[in-house]
């Protein structure tokens, strides 16, 4: 299990042992840091960035501070669990009568997973928006060029200027090829976005493992010429 960093904020003597036990059960290898207030977390992202913040009966300002914090990419900065009254849909709240280590451990794990999924989803939606914007612009340029070239070609053919006809035909070919390249790139990016484990492109003539010798492979010999 990967190492997490959990921050327990403003734990009272009664909640502290329960929260600590829950944290140990949910993430046995996690680094647990206790602070008195949200401001004590600070903004040193590299050194002290937690993945889960647990607050006990926070005031509205502290809860808002925890829930609304964003990372440098504009994504929710951490998962938030509130031990106490319900503070809205962006944080898991657990009423006092349900404070026991087993249940809280499940809530901690669920909050971290939900946060991770939400970040992945927002990141993906951002990627898709960027792709859509780029595709609109990048495709529009060659398509516009093809259309205008066709209009000019029509006029030039009417006039009978062979050199300009050849040039406009070349323009149509270049712009068509440009669109084909963009479609190829967009298709690759969209498949990679949809599937994080989308395989990298590799040189197919190189075998990475030789199953007969058990040693790393070497390039396949060139195929013999002839019909396939």
């Amino acid at each position: 299990m990967r190492l997490l960093r959990l921050f327990l904020v403003r734990m009272s003597p009664s909640t502290r042992p329960v929260a600590l036990a829950a944290a140990r059960e949910a993430y046995p290898n996690a680094e647990v840091v206790e602070v008195g207030a949200m401001d004590d977390i600070g903004y040193d992202v590299v050194a002290r960035n937690p993945e889960l913040v647990v607050l006990t009966e926070p005031d509205t300002a502290s809860a808002a501070h925890a829930i609304q914090a964003l990372d440098s990419d504009g994504l929710p900065r951490w998962a938030v669990v509130i031990l106490g009254s319900d503070m809205g849909e962006f944080a898991e709240s657990v009423p006092p009568e349900q404070w026991n280590p087993q249940l809280l451990a499940r809530v901690f794990r669920s909050a971290v997973q939900q946060h991770q999924l939400m970040c992945d989803n927002l990141r993906l939606r951002g990627d898709l928006r960027t792709i859509a914007r780029r595709v609109t612009h990048d495709l529009y340029t060659p398509v516009g060029c093809i259309t205008t070239s066709a209009h000019v070609l029509e006029a030039v053919l009417f006039q009978g200027d062979k050199e300009s006809v050849e040039e406009m035909v070349q323009n149509v070919k270049n712009s068509s090829a440009e669109i084909a390249r963009i479609i190829d790139r967009v298709s690759f990016v969209l498949r990679a976005s949809a599937d994080p484990h989308f395989p990298d492109r590799i040189e197919m003539s190189f075998a990475s493992w030789n199953p007969t010798s058990g040693r790393p492979g070497r390039p396949w010999p060139s195929p013999l010429p002839g019909p396939r």
Partner: protein
Amino acid sequence: MNILIVDDHPNIARVTEVALGLLGCRTFTTGTTSEALRLLCTEKVEAIFLDLNLRGESGLEFLSKLTALDSGTPVVIFTAKNKCEYAEEAQRRGAFSYLAKPFDLDDLRRQLTQIEYFHGNREGALITQERWGSP
């Protein structure tokens, strides 16, 4: 009429050159604003066709610079049909008019006629109108 085309997409720039050539214009073409400024100093240019989406200095920034220079040369901006908000911004910054891509010879001829009128050349405007048919 002498026209300066500022567009860093070579195919678009070339097709614009050919189209303006068919309408009787002499063209100078560049993909950079620095080269455009140099050409404005060395050549007699009667209109500028400027793409808004240039790499480096944007078309809008360059347009503001041209307006500040107060050269009196009309600037027609190229813009994609779905980017009319940029056209409005360009006109606020002093653009003479805008040409939505993709354009055809009739669109270009209308622009040239307006430019001829702007320069007070009624005779030239009529010639441009007659070339490749009436509007």
